[in-house]
């Protein structure tokens, strides 16, 4: 099951700014380490990411229908569903990546920390704050060091570069493997290492939220396990949304799961709840493998 860590002396969710990324507790189980259900109300009020009545079209194709959901801070949220259900499309709506595709239309709202990311917001800044890791690792054809620091430099980073690179590679659980060869070309790394490099690169611009689009689908089982371990560690500091077609993976790493079908959000709940006692039949059919 998911790990829960509470650093000593943490104040949990910062109600004023909605900033909940200074560590803090996650999860809502009463049988766990003394988290009150009162936190639940507070967390919902200050959800990290809120989607309100989102509709999305590729041309005339109505791909997402009236999606409303919350993503909570310092949790891993999984989007699952059969191919073509729109989960990746929804993910890309969360950081305005869909705008790069011509002939698309979006209605509804997406709020990060209570702020609308579409209305009166610069997409470049939005993407800075909401990072993305892609399905197939796509490091730049540069050195490992240059890959990690690239985004930070573009965004005007003025601090210590070596320190930033090391910190991000450590968070991505890649430091030990590459610390002696930071100047080597990124393309020389294995698939799993490249994906963790992409994570480190995303962390270097210090986003609030990290979106991951089927991050392990191009990786072998061992690399996948390492990646999942990394994701679990990351949620202490970041809010993570993972799209996956692998239900077991969703069960392993996520706190909450949203199930999509044909562009609609069918059900969203705590992961354990969704997988053992789903409230919708379609969810149950999907989970038990009656279609996929």
């Amino acid at each position: 099951m998911t790990e829960k860590t509470a650093a000593a002396g943490d104040t949990g969710v910062d109600v004023e700014t909605g900033d909940s990324s200074r560590g803090g507790v996650s999860g809502f189980r009463n049988d766990e380490t003394g988290v009150m259900s009162g936190d639940r109300a507070r967390d919902v009020a200050t959800a990290k990411v809120r989607v309100e009545n989102l509709d999305f079209w590729y041309g005339t194709h109505h791909v997402l229908k009236s999606i409303t959901l919350d993503v909570r801070a310092n949790e891993v949220t999984a989007f699952i569903g059969p191919s073509g259900c729109g989960k990746s499309t929804l993910l890309r709506c969360l950081n305005r990546m869909n705008e790069l595709i011509p002939d698309t239309r979006l209605e509804g709202r997406v709020l990060i920390d209570g702020r609308d990311i579409y209305e009166n917001a610069d997409p470049v800044m939005v993407r800075r704050r909401i990072g993305m890791v892609f399905q197939k690792p796509n490091p730049f054809p540069k050195s490992i060091f240059d890959n990690v620091i690239w985004g930070a430099l573009v965004n005007g980073y003025k601090g210590d570069r070596d320190e930033l690179v090391e910190r991000c590679l450590r968070q991505a659980a890649l430091w030990d493997e590459v610390k002696d060869r930071l100047d080597d070309q990124a393309y020389g790394l294995s698939g799993g290492q490249q994906q963790r490099l992409c994570i480190a690169r995303t962390l270097a611009v210090q986003p609030d939220v990290v979106l991951m689009d089927e991050p392990a689908s191009a990786l072998d089982p061992i690399a996948t396990a390492k990646l999942e371990e990394t994701i679990l560690k990351l949620k202490q500091r970041y809010t993570i949304v993972v799209v996956t077609h692998n239900m077991q993976q969703a069960g392993r790493i996520s706190d909450r799961t949203a199930f999509f079908y044909m562009g609609e959000l069918i059900e969203m709940d705590d992961t354990e709840q969704l997988f053992t006692r789903p409230s919708k039949k379609r969810t149950e059919d999907y989970i038990t493998g009656r279609f996929g």
Partner: protein, 319 residues
């Protein structure tokens, strides 16, 4: 044409087409007619090989006639090229420097403009504009070089003369600029191909990190396409080095070892053509000198083309 199989059915009713004993061992593919056709076609394909060998053979063989009278040392180290004077000197450097000066000026014009055009067409231009720009550039590429030469001599030089004091009627600058204009489409088209073949996910990664469009283009796509871009530069410059009519008309016929673009220069190509135009008698060392110069020209352009194609091959394996 009848493509019926050459099966023979033995007797029987006509409906039993496949029931007869077909002579499947008749090897139609290897019939004498097929073999003859294959050899004839193959022979044609070999002509291209023979052409290359012929070029090499002619250049080397006739150059030997030249080097029988002029030492290679003089050819490579002497700084005067005076085949027509009574006191003959055969140092390649004035011709080589003429070629290099013009090519350098052409590079300064074509490489930046070509690359910027490629970037604009690949990443910025809306589709409809592209449909005008690309054919426009192709038109530029289709203009005969003698027309460009005319343009250089009768338009560009008079245009520049008020601004550049001391600009000769025949000068390297006008010729170099026009040679550069001539190769812009080549740089633009090949660089555009290189930029387009940078995989889309790389650009997406750049955008996802909060970069603006110009940053993604200049700091991800262009560096990612760099080997293809450099190959395009080399190929275009090789073309510039081999260019003949523009320089013959506009740069002059005086071998001149100089880096001053306002002066007339003679390139290797212009020299070769001028020997033909003149009345140099065959069999003289002046006549054979054109083959030696041709050999140098051939080796330079050949190696540049090889390097560029090698880069393109290596680059294709990367993504």
């Amino acid at each position: 044409m009848n493509i019926a199989p050459t099966q023979q059915s033995t007797g029987g009713t006509s409906g039993e087409y496949y029931a007869g004993k077909a002579n499947l061992s008749a090897n139609v593919f290897r019939s004498p007619k097929e073999r003859a056709i294959e050899y004839a076609l193959g022979f044609c394909a070999l002509i291209s090989v023979v052409t290359t060998l012929g070029i090499a053979a002619v250049l080397v063989y006739e150059s030997l006639n030249f080097f029988a009278e002029v030492s290679i040392i003089e050819f490579l180290t002497e700084t005067r090229w005076t085949p027509q004077f009574s006191e003959k000197h055969f140092g390649i450097w004035p011709l080589l420097s003429g070629t290099l000066l013009i090519t350098a000026i052409a590079a300064l014009v074509a490489l930046p403009i070509g690359l910027m055009s490629a970037i604009f067409i690949a990443e910025y231009s809306p589709k409809r504009l592209r449909q005008v720009l690309k054919p426009g550039l192709e038109l530029l590429a289709g203009i005969p070089t003698v027309v460009y030469g005319y343009f250089a001599l009768t338009f560009v030089t008079p245009l520049l003369q008020p601004f550049i004091p001391g600009l000769n009627v025949y000068n390297a600058l006008s010729a170099g600029i026009v040679v550069g204009i001539m190769i812009i489409p080549m740089v633009a088209s090949l660089s555009e191909d290189a930029i387009r073949s940078v995989p889309r996910p790389l650009a997406e990664a750049g955008y996802a990190l909060g970069a603006t469009k110009i940053e993604v283009v200049l700091r991800v796509m262009v560096p990612g396409a760099m080997s293809g871009i450099i190959a395009s530069f080399i190929l275009a410059l090789s073309r510039a080095i081999g260019e003949t009519m523009i320089v013959t008309l506009a740069a002059g016929a005086m071998p001149n070892l100089t880096m001053n673009p306002t002066e007339p220069v003679q390139t290797m190509t212009a020299f070769i053509v001028n020997v033909s135009l003149g009345d140099t008698p065959q069999g003289t060392v002046q006549f054979y000198s054109l083959f030696a110069v041709g050999l140098v020209l051939f080796l330079i352009t050949l190696s540049m083309n090889f390097v560029a194609n090698w880069i393109i091959q290596k680059y294709r394996e990367r993504y």
